[in-house]
Amino acid sequence: MLEISGLQVKYGEIHALRDVSLKVRAGSIVAVVGANGAGKSTLMLTIAGLLPPAAGQILYEAKPLPRQAYEVLARGICLVPERRRLYANLTVRENLLMGAFLRRDQKGIRADLERMYKLFPILHERLKQYAGTLSGGEQQMAAIARGLMSRPRLLLLDEPSLGLAPLMVQNVFKTVREIRDQGTTIVLAEQNAFEALAMADDALVLETGRVIVAGSGRDLLNDPLVRKAYLGIKH
């Protein structure tokens, strides 16, 4: 579905990503694991069209991905950014509607709103509230719902568990699985390595902008290097 090869991204002189390659199969969950500053967000922002690659290729369904964010969304790739970044000055409902900005099918949008209320019942009670007044967990739900409102075929989730209570984290990961089961492919960037690897079909570990290990989620869970560095398990 998505094929990245030899991707390089620079901030000025600093290499944020070096020679990153990644394959995403349709219907799978791909986990991108790594510490702070490893380049996870950079990778996500680059795919979404907000950062220009310095070199390399991103193919989506065998065609190069456009370089403007709104064109990328139009092709069916949606990024739910790190720290949720809801529009705090808009109501929850307006936030969800912004997710459907490119869609013109009023009926479909209304049906999808209903679908979101079913997926995230808490949002239904908060519709008229400003998004800035939601709790962290509710904000994450709203952010994911906003992303789904565009009906993406590929959903990029950047650190959805960041700053959430453990129970809420379980909730978010459960939702991620549900979304995949409904047919949306997912790329998940996470610091919460254990959970992410446990549910990923494929995974890779980034360190200072490089892919240091890649394989299936299960393989990486058992990889001694990963266990030591990211799962905190000592031998």
């Binding site: 969304l73 000055n89 565009s150």
Partner: protein
């Protein structure tokens, strides 16, 4: 006397509010004070004056022409002076300098081509009065109040309920995420400048009728700027309330104290307000939860 003063104050306040809303609209999305806005208002007034007096069109058509002309010029202003800065993510200081340059350029363009003459609209439009509860009220004032409030209400409705309106508010909070939601920012900014320009045309027309049409008339936007700051820069309801407060207070001061200290009063008000309430009446600070 008091009713008369209040009506005049509201009329001026309404025009201030129009300009302040235009200012705030641009500020809310690009985060800089568009100093070229006054020149767009001035050009809008010239367009209206020419359509009415030289082309002999009816008043309503001239007002519409002035609104459309100013909207187009405002749009052009963004494309030529700001869009390249925007694409390079320039700091707002550069936008402001570019805006000042545009203002000076446009003003001198008018000096060089049309001249520095003052043009007045015919008295039949500007001097009609009706008597109401024993007070003599200018018809023009009533029109100014009605039109500015209608225009502002329409804008408010557009921002609250339309797809593009919601996107404008979203972009005023987070432009990057707006792009992730599929918004073409270049097009959205174009919309904002078209809307601001339309308000500029309307206010330019009323300013021209109330006072006169001349190359430096755009500097009255200083007042609109004060109004926007009183209300809280970037807040539209704030801009309206700020405009009304300023218009009414100014008129009261010039009627009951002295018209000489009117501007001194306005700017003193600004200074005091910035000291006491730096974010204005409605300037709110929304915090993002981490």
């Amino acid at each position: 006397m008091l009713i008369q003063t209040l009506v005049t104050g509201l009329a001026i306040g309404g025009i201030y509010a129009l300009m302040a809303v235009g200012y705030s609209l641009v500020f809310s999305i690009l985060n800089f004070s568009n100093f070229a806005y006054g020149s767009i208002i001035m050009l809008g007034a010239y367009v209206g004056y020419y359509l009415l007096m030289k082309a002999g069109l009816p008043l309503a058509v001239s007002v519409a022409g002035s609104v459309m002309g100013a909207a187009f010029l405002c749009y052009l202003n963004e494309r030529m002076a700001y869009s390249t800065l925007r694409k390079r993510n320039a700091a707002s200081l550069y936008f402001m300098i570019s805006a000042m340059g545009t203002a000076i350029f446009l003003e001198n363009l008018v000096y060089a081509t049309i001249g520095s003459r003052f043009y007045a609209f015919p008295e039949i439009i500007t001097q009609q009065n009706i008597t109401f509860w024993g007070a003599s009220i200018g018809v023009l004032d009533v029109f100014a109040i009605v039109f500015s409030f209608t225009a502002i209400y329409m804008l408010h409705y557009f921002l609250q309920h339309s797809r593009v309106g919601i996107a404008i508010r979203a972009a005023s909070y987070d432009m990057q995420v707006c792009q992730l939601n599929g918004v073409n920012i270049t097009r959205l900014v174009g919309w904002v400048f078209l809307l601001a320009g339309a308000l500029a045309g309307l206010s330019g027309m009323f300013l021209g009728m109330k006072y006169m049409v001349y190359p430096t008339m755009g500097w009255i936007t200083n007042k609109a700027y004060i109004a926007a700051v009183i209300g809280g820069l970037g807040s539209l309801p704030g801009a309206v309330v700020g405009g009304l407060i300023l218009g009414v207070l100014e008129t009261l001061v010039s009627t009951y104290v002295s018209s000489v200290i009117r501007d001194v009063f306005s700017f003193s008000l600004l200074v005091v307000l910035l000291l006491v309430l730096p974010t204005g009446l409605f300037g709110k600070y929304l915090e993002e939860k981490v």
